[in-house]
Symmetry: C2
Subunit: 151 residues, 2 copies
């Protein structure tokens, strides 16, 4: 319950959706971690506490949360689809550890200049971008070092 559980629930209702036990559990799960979770991972965790909740409901809830812009979809890091609770800020991007999946947000991408130039050069009307950095967080690179020392 680190982030905006309550806010997310309010937004759901504002969007005209009912607030069910299942949806609450799913929101709590996504909000309760910094990792980006695949639908299957969300299901697994939710299912542990509430064995009656089905995978279908997870998919349906994800769709709604994404539609309302309450979660972010990431692409990098192997899996095609994984989700994060949207942080308070608006436009932002992710720095992802490809080992442990930890995600750090950053907001200032400073791509406006590039965007303007591209638009001018190509005659495109640009309406968005996808930016993710991939790397290794401190803990993981430390672990790796220790392991290589053992050889």
């Amino acid at each position: 319950m680190i982030y905006s559980d309550k806010t997310t629930e309010q937004e759901l209702r504002r969007g005209g959706y009912k607030l069910t036990t299942q949806r609450r559990a799913i929101i709590g799960t996504i909000a309760g971690t910094q990792e980006h979770l695949t639908p299957a991972a969300i299901y697994e965790r939710v299912h542990r506490k509430h064995p009656s909740i089905g995978l279908v409901t997870v998919y349906r809830t994800i769709d709604i949360l994404a539609e309302l812009g309450l979660i972010c979809e990431t692409h990098a890091g192997g899996s095609c689809r994984s989700y994060l609770m949207r942080r308070p800020s608006g436009h932002h991007h992710h720095l992802i550890c490809s080992d442990c999946g930890r995600v750090v947000d950053f907001t200032d991408c400073d791509l406006e200049k590039l965007e303007r130039r591209l638009a001018k050069e190509t005659n495109f009307k640009i309406n968005g971008h996808l930016l993710e950095f991939l790397g290794q967080c401190r803990e993981c690179s430390r672990k790796q070092k220790e392991q290589s020392r053992l050889c």
Copy 2:
């Protein structure tokens, strides 16, 4: 046969892979368009000319081409996986028209400064990034204008 068919074929062999009719056809298909094609789209096009080539072979060839770095994988634009023949340049990114799928390359992303800053602030060892711009190309926005005029 716009781009580097021949080069691609040479690279394949250099990688220790045999140059079969099927692979030639698949490479020709990807190289013959500027669009980014999903595996299914590649199969459909290849299959039209060579009905005996199976979808499995398309997948296997894609894997090899990606492994050798001869094609690029894109994520934006709805589909989870789609491919483009790699242009002559090395590191580059894509500007994608979300209507027609046209892809324009650009090389200078100028993210080094941001990358260095992020690395310093987060203690991450950053080893790559994913950047795609999404928009509407001139033709598509023109078409849209015409259509809205009809209403």
